[in-house]
């Protein structure tokens, strides 16, 4: 399985390099990205079969989903929005998450606690990973533009800001669906749809951060720099929900500790 993981990592890394040559490297980049996605999908499928359960219980397992979905969305949305801006960041992000998993392999056992044995498990996590991928890409584009602005003094192009915004319009509805699926599931498993569990609280904070961004954006012609900074901040809140909540003092009060390996 390490071989498949390395193939995915290598493909995305090389794809990122190929995309650096916009004209000659485009087709090679697309082929390598697809190869990496297929390798990643094969890895997830193999894990699913070998573990006998959906591989989305631990942080490491969800990182694999993210590693695969980010380049996938980057490719699909790049075609949809007719832009090449997503190509390099999405491949490098996929490669980075794959590298993290390879460097810090997690214990993946076959057990799945009763609360997770639910039809809601897969939809809830997959929708969230899709949302995180779209929102992560929007922030990555934002950070990329900010870096170009401050390091190379290049001005922020309105079409790049527009692209970031479109990615939020993809990610926020998915985030909302993930939140709602979680509420329906919580009612079935624990008797109440919302208990302000630390994980739920941070999920709400992520949702409200992007909601506030969206409402301000609708009302005002936001300055491009401010727009991009807000998106980066929004992603920081998202990371707080995904990883950070496990490190907070409130973690011991959470029933969502199954995301720990």
């Amino acid at each position: 399985m390490n071989g498949i993981a390395t193939l995915a990592l290598g493909s995305w890394f090389l794809a990122g390099g190929a995309y650096a040559f916009p004209r000659k490297g485009r087709i090679a980049g697309d082929v390598l990205t697809i190869l990496g996605i297929l390798a990643g999908a094969l890895l997830i499928g193999s894990l699913w079969v070998s573990l006998g359960r959906p591989p989305m219980r631990t942080l490491g397992e969800t990182r694999w989903w993210y590693a695969v979905l980010v380049p996938t969305l980057g490719l699909l949305l790049g075609w949809r929005f007719e832009t090449r801006v997503l190509a390099i960041p999405s491949c490098l992000m996929g490669a980075m998450f794959a590298l993290i998993n390879l460097r810090h392999p997690e214990y993946m056992d076959k057990t799945l606690m009763p609360a997770l044995q639910s039809p809601w498990f897969v939809p809830h996590v997959v929708v969230y990973m899709l949302a995180y991928s779209a929102l992560g890409l929007s922030s990555l584009v934002g950070a990329w533009m900010l870096a170009k602005r401050f390091l190379r003094k290049e001005s922020v192009r309105p079409e790049d800001v527009d692209l970031s915004h479109r990615l939020v319009l993809v990610g926020l509805p998915l985030l909302t669906c993930g939140l709602l699926f979680g509420a329906f599931w919580a009612k079935e498993a624990w008797g109440h749809y919302w208990t302000w569990d630390p994980k739920e609280t941070w999920a709400f904070l992520t949702w409200s951060a992007y909601l506030i961004y969206l409402h301000v954006k609708i009302r005002h012609r936001m300055k491009p720099l401010l727009n991009l900074v807000l998106l980066v901040v929004g992603f920081a809140v998202l990371m707080g929900c995904w990883f950070g909540v496990n490190l907070m003092p409130t973690a011991r009060e959470s029933v969502h500790t199954y995301t720990q390996s």
Binding site: Y107, K110, P114, W190, T201, S208, H215
Partner: protein
């Protein structure tokens, strides 16, 4: 040349100075974020005042709240329709108020997401920030904004308005249902003992409640996952001073696995075992017995063998020690499934139902949930811990959440091509 005519002092007007209008007062300026911030801060201040005057939270009649909230909602809906273009209504329903109220709720939620409840209780006398008056008043302001904004978009029935109503009115409905439900919410724990009928449950604060039905546990069943093996090593930096490297496979005869730097092979395995006179024997009939495995562990070319067991009620755990302060251990068994066969006596009628996690049992507005059991006894547990929930607001909450789900589905279907659901259109 004639002299210029002198000004008639009766009709002459003084020389006109440059026209100066007095600076508009704060509330005469176009209503926007600053005004919303002021209203938000005032709302929060009222919440803080309530906290100090009334206390953390006072028990409020759910029906009284529902009546008040319904009247308020109808009033806001009428206001939103009849005075749709009024600047104040427009502003209260608008985005500045939405942003400020959402931000207020979020900031308080952030406190709750970072500061443990025990510390909030100790330092601020607030068991939970989510039930505190400041949070409730902030959420109330957000609700007013949601209702008014939905009222202004009730007509015409364009696609954009329908999508808007589904999301905003859906959320408002869910919040209303949640508030109503929480006021009258009953969430009590019931411990059903084997063969012992009971109708007594306990609230979180320890008070006992008599339920209108009786529950008897007839049978408790539990399945566990087979055990795995782990390599334990002393590590002062790790939690409990022990670092565990876990094996991925279930222990069974013939299993061979590399766990860390140790090659582990299982040549004997008893699903139920006990230790008698220093020897491990298989005891299939002993329900409380745990598994044990005889392993051969090879490290640096040298092999060590012995029995590994997580232990049980009657038998202490057993490990195989390795050189370098390491050992092969068997972690505690993990539950795969646990279920309770219940007999529920209600209104003279007896029903037999089976309950397990993710499969609650319900009748009327009451639902029973399988929460836990006697973890020390495991499969031999003689009681089952159930949670009994009665939430009268649930239908309204679900209606609101499904409306919200429909709204975001429309949003996804529409796609990002238009740049947003109300691009360029002020709220």
């Amino acid at each position: 040349m004639s002299k210029p005519a002198l000004m008639n002092p009766r009709t002459a007007r003084p020389a006109q100075a440059a026209v100066q209008t007095p600076a508009a007062s704060f509330w005469e300026q176009p209503l926007g974020y600053r005004h919303a911030l002021l209203v938000g801060a005032t709302t929060l201040g009222i919440g803080v005042l309530f906290h100090f005057q009334i206390g953390y939270r006072t028990r409020f009649s759910a029906d009284l709240f529902a009546a008040f909230a319904t009247v308020l909602t109808l009033g806001l809906l009428a206001l939103g329709r009849l005075r749709r273009n009024d600047p104040v209504v427009h502003w209260v329903a608008g985005i500045p108020m939405a942003v400020v109220s959402t931000a207020m709720v979020s900031i308080l939620a952030l406190v709750g997401g970072v500061v443990p409840q025990s510390e909030l209780q100790a330092h601020a006398g607030v068991p939970s920030i989510f039930g505190s008056w400041p949070f409730l008043t902030a959420a109330g302001l957000m609700q007013v904004n949601l209702i008014l904004s939905a009222a202004r978009r009730l007509t015409p029935w364009t696609r954009a308005n329908v999508q808007y109503l589904l999301t905003h009115a859906g959320l408002a409905l869910a919040l209303f249902g949640a508030a109503y439900g929480n006021l009258g919410l009953e969430r009590v724990r019931l411990i059903a003992g084997l063969g012992q009928p009971t109708n007594v449950a306990e609230r979180e604060d320890g008070t006992q409640v008599q339920l209108p039905f009786q529950v008897t546990l007839r049978k408790f069943t539990m399945e566990t996952f087979p055990p795995t093996l782990s390599l334990a090593a002393e590590d002062k930096t790790a939690k409990d001073g022990l670092k565990l490297v876990h094996g991925a496979h279930f222990a069974q005869v013939g299993m061979a696995e590399q766990i860390g730097s140790v090659e582990v092979r299982v040549d004997r395995y008893y699903p139920r075992a006990a230790r008698l006179d220093g020897k491990w024997i298989e005891v299939p009939a002993m329900v409380t017995a745990g598994p044990a495995a005889h392993v051969v562990a090879t490290v640096d070319g040298k092999s060590v063998d012995g029995w590994v067991s997580a232990g049980s009620l009657d038998t202490p755990s057993s490990i195989v020690e390795l050189p370098g302060h390491r050992a092969i251990v068997m972690p505690d068994l993990r539950p795969k499934k646990f279920a309770s066969d219940l007999e529920i006596r209600r209104n003279g009628v007896v029903e037999k139902r089976t309950i397990e996690v993710n499969k609650p049992v319900g009748f009327g507005r009451t639902s029973l949930y399988q929460i836990s059991y006697d973890e020390q006894m495991g499969a031999a547990s003689e009681y089952s811990v159930l949670e009994v929930v009665e939430d009268h607001g649930l239908p309204v909450v679900y209606l609101g959440l499904f409306a919200l789900l429909a709204g975001v589905t429309m949003m996804m279907a529409q796609g990002a091509a238009a740049g947003g659901p109300s691009n360029g259109e002020d709220k």
